[in-house]
Amino acid sequence: MEKGFVSLVLHAHLPYVRHPDFEEFMEERWLFEAITETYIPILRAFQDLERDNVPFKITMSITPPLMEMLDSNDLQDKYVRHMQKLIELAEKEVERTRTEHPRKHKMAKYYHQDFQDILHIFETENNRSLVKAFGHFQEKGNLEIITCNATHGFLPLMNRFPQAVRAQVTTGAKTYEKHLGVAPKGMWLAECGYTAGLDKYLAEENIRYFFVDSHGIWFAENPPRYGVYRPLLTENGVFVFGRDPESSEQVWSAEIGYPGDFRYREFYRDVGFDRELEYITPYIDRSGVRVNTGMKYHRVTGKNIDLGKKDFYDIDEARQAAKEHARDFALKKQAQLEGLHRAFDGVVPIVVAPFDAELFGHWWFEGPMFIENFFRELHTLDTVAPITPPEFIEQHVQSVQIATPADSTWGANGYNEVWINGSNDWVYPHLDELIVRMTELVHRHGNQNDAKKDRLLKQAMRELLLAQSSDWAFIMTTGTTVEYASNRTRQHVDRFLKIARWLDKGNMDEKTLASWEWLDKIFEDPDYNLYLKSS
């Protein structure tokens, strides 16, 4: 008899980074690395579980920009080329490590095989379509794919403009439908950013549930009797699940988190940085800037150990560690859920554990093995089982508490400061002005059976949505690749303003418009009428 359920939620997202006008572009590697290190290894874990008849249930948000990128032919081509080069490097590494160290050599051979397998999974097994590959597991009932607001725009700072929030939410739902053929049941709000009233827009799109961080539930307008371990129902009839802080800490804490185990792979030692420049040049960025290749030979080794003194990695030891940690996590969930079940007098609790998907595999190399083993371990336990949020609602929610969650995000300190501070506050006057102008433009020029105006309005909408990606403000806060993020914001705002001028003046530069349609090609048919309704 199950006394409680676990819902693992992976948020897979990358900003729309696609530069078809360049043969190679450094930031496009974000996607390639995520495919190689996270998305395909997770798929492979699902395949292994499926083969072994292990019942698993997992929820994944695949955000609209990520779906659009995974579906882009030019990025798919580039990914294949990227992998071919990586395989070539691995081949060289196999030779080179032969005389260096047996464990290095073992890993080089592993990478050589693994990269080929990954390319095979991408090209041959799935015909390059990873969205469909994940869709398969949704159809089988193991995976619940949810969407996200259109470009991962940060809604709490957009809330003054219902039309802008609606454009984000509805476009997110529509994009999901375009790629998966069905409507989404759930939505991940970018950055888990909730502010009172957002549930209304979700309800309009028949989104049945979303997530907030723990304090979004704890500080809800009415005290939530069961804390984060039962969903609440918002005023507009949408279910909301809260993040379990214990699960996050067990996986993530710098002190006690699993990824810090000494047997796991060390992220910061990569042949892209370790090999001499002449040798590695063909495999790093064309500008000669060193980048991670994904080939790494060292393990964490110990706390506060100098990177130069790291020991060699052994994947079999690491696999063992991932198994132990998966067992430990499953037992902890069991104890936690049994305790909650007692405390709740038999009311069934759910532990919701959301993570950035890219944590698993990219940052924590063994993460996908951990996930796979976690489901295997859960399968051996009688009192706990995995579940998706809609299944939990259907099977275990008879009566539900109504409450408005508190404004909250999952960013550092829990509110908006990651996305609005001295490093990035300059973007908001522009983003707000663009919303106002977009609305005016649609009123003035929309729906006039004028194909040119339609094209311009659609492209203006794309530029606005792209400018709104929370990623740019986030990057400015963290200080990495700030120039890229700042330029992306500027570029989209600039293009929008030019399009707005063309619309109002009744002229346009056809060639330039066509090039922007090609470059910023997100969302095939964005519905600009969403900006008409201002309540």
């Binding site: 984060v228 008879q398 508190a406 908006n416 400061e417 200080g479 500027r490």
Partner: protein, 313 residues
């Protein structure tokens, strides 16, 4: 960035951490003086496109070791006689690359020392309007205790404000706590005022009360010491940071649709509120994560700016 003397006084472990964050290849095997030099070098030499080109040409011509040494010398790269050709080459390439980037992204390494005048570079940054020439005053919540305001003026307002300035009238940002009231301009719970200097376009206000509503006005005082508002903001609500004090639970039965209200006994799980919103990664992790996911971006890596609160710029 730290000047060389400061670097020289730093501990090796600190230098290594700095070098790691800057993405300096092979830093973990460097000795102290190499680290100091590599970090100092990261400050970049003054940019001279002509010289850069000639250096690049010489590098392409597969220079011999003594040529490399002389190039290194003129680039101000310190090196050891024992240094291998490969290593020296790498160091020069790195410096040239750095020079290129310093030169091409004018100002992005704000604190670098410039000894020689730098030839003006066309800005690569796409310029955006500095004003949309509309009367705007917007408040955005940051967290339970801080609100951000930004503003912009229409041309006629600019004229008005300029006229006022000539009369030595100080422009003022007024912030009202209007929680749970219908504001009539005289009934705010609390009012704060901040002088608005010419050219200021934003301000962070420490409002102190979570879960409260605020409004702001920009205006000035007339001769009768009466505050005359020129612009008013939207209503901003700060998020709560503690448990609700309400004693009511509202429930609905999903089958019957029946609703009922119960007395709340608080939260059964008695949550330990710590690390609120510690995202799936804390900020330090996030930095590393993004650094890693952006790979080569490491050399552009810098500490996130501390929140600049209660001030303006």
């Amino acid at each position: 960035m730290a000047p060389k003397e400061t670097l020289e006084q730093s501990k090796v472990s600190d230098l290594k951490e700095m070098a790691r964050k800057k993405g300096i290849p092979g830093y973990y095997k460097m000795r102290k003086e190499e680290l100091v030099e590599a970090l100092d070098e990261k400050q970049g030499a003054p940019f001279d496109p002509g010289a850069l080109q000639s250096f690049e040409k010489r590098m392409d011509a597969n220079p011999r070791i003594f040529e490399l040494r002389s190039m290194a010398k003129s680039l101000g790269i310190s090196f050891k006689r024992s240094m291998k050709k490969k290593e020296l080459k790498e160091r020069i390439v790195r410096t040239l690359d750095k020079m290129k980037r310093v030169g091409s992204s004018a100002g992005s390494l704000g604190t670098r020392k410039v000894e020689k005048p730098v030839p003006p570079q066309p800005p690569r940054e796409i310029p955006l309007p500095s004003s949309y020439k509309k009367d705007t005053l917007v408040g955005l919540p940051i967290n339970p205790n801080w609100v951000f305001f930004y503003w912009d003026f229409a041309p006629q307002t600019v004229n008005l404000l300029e006229a006022l300035e000539k009369q030595d009238r100080q422009m003022v940002l007024r912030v009202y706590d209007v929680t749970y009231i219908i504001f009539d301009r005289n009934n705010a719970h609390r009012v704060w005022e901040y002088p608005v200097q010419n050219g200021m376009k934003k301000f962070y206000v420490n409002v102190q009360m979570p879960n409260a509503s605020y409004l702001a006005e920009i205006g000035y005082y007339d001769d009768a010491r009466q505050f005359i508002p020129v612009l008013r903001s939207n209503l901003v609500r700060t998020p709560p940071n503690q448990f609700s004090e309400k004693k009511e639970e509202r429930w609905v039965d999903l089958n019957s649709g029946e609703k009922l209200s119960l007395l709340s006994k608080g939260i059964l799980t008695n949550p330990q509120v710590k690390n609120i919103g510690l995202s799936s990664m804390d900020i330090e992790h996030l930095e590393h994560f993004r650094q890693s996911i952006t790979s080569g971006g490491g050399s552009w890596f810098s500490k996130p700016e501390k929140k600049r609160k209660g001030g303006s710029d």
